[in-house]
């Protein structure tokens, strides 16, 4: 069902190359720069497809949606069961200055279950995002505020 196209490849490549989270717009721009003239709509479509299939991870920062390759692995062999579950949940630690992103460990699924139970909820998904400054940016910022 999924055909292999130049643009799809380019998008995944760009995504992989970038490593961190990027907005569709940014990625589109990057592709332009790289000489790959791909429609913005296609970038969006592809990105969403990746997110839905679970190959990409997404976060919503401010008003935009950012994407990043998930396992950075890639298609391994094949698997018989494909996703019935769309977008996964994420746990990220994002530097608000340089954008560096780190995956973090889940905050005890145990705790999660407890909360859900207590309120009679059935958890479908959850997001946890920590925003702050990474060591480097922290230093830079200190220096900056030091100057007048």
């Amino acid at each position: 069902m999924a055909r292999q196209t130049r643009q799809k490849d380019a998008i995944v490549a760009a995504l992989r190359a970038h490593g961190e989270f990027v907005s569709a717009q940014q990625l589109h721009q990057a592709l332009e720069d790289a000489g790959e003239h791909i429609g913005l709509a296609t970038v969006y479509r592809q990105l969403n497809a990746l997110a839905d299939s679970g190959e990409a991870d997404t976060v919503r920062l401010d008003g935009q949606q950012l994407f990043r390759l998930c396992g950075t692995g890639h298609a391994d062999g094949d698997d018989g069961h494909d996703g019935a579950e769309p977008r996964r949940h994420h746990h990220h630690l994002v530097c608000t200055s340089c954008g560096k992103t780190v995956e973090i460990d889940p905050p005890g699924e145990q705790w999660l279950r407890t909360i859900a139970d207590r309120h009679g909820f059935t958890i479908e998904s959850h997001t946890l995002e920590l925003f702050g400054l990474c060591a480097d940016c922290r230093k830079k910022q200190d220096d900056a505020s030091d100057a007048s």
Copy 2:
């Protein structure tokens, strides 16, 4: 600096009445229903003002921003230093069906600190949102899927 206007009151009232998170659009609609003809733009402006002043809490679900009165408190006396810190962080449990929202306890600030430390980050803010179905909606949905 902040004048008291009919619309501002109506908005806060509607917000308080609703209790849970609402989108600007929803709130605007509600006001219309209540006979209060207030410009959508004004609703947005007011809502943002409330959020900035810390009187309202906000979450981003999907592509919209939802608001809810925060401490139900209000401006205390006056203060010389005005906000350097805009919007706070939240911990919510939201029903994706009826919108019911429950405040939940933080997932161990301890754990948070550990993560931050390990990666050399200085956490500025964080968001944690759990989405799922509350008991009621879960039942309803089961029934529905039961019918063909």
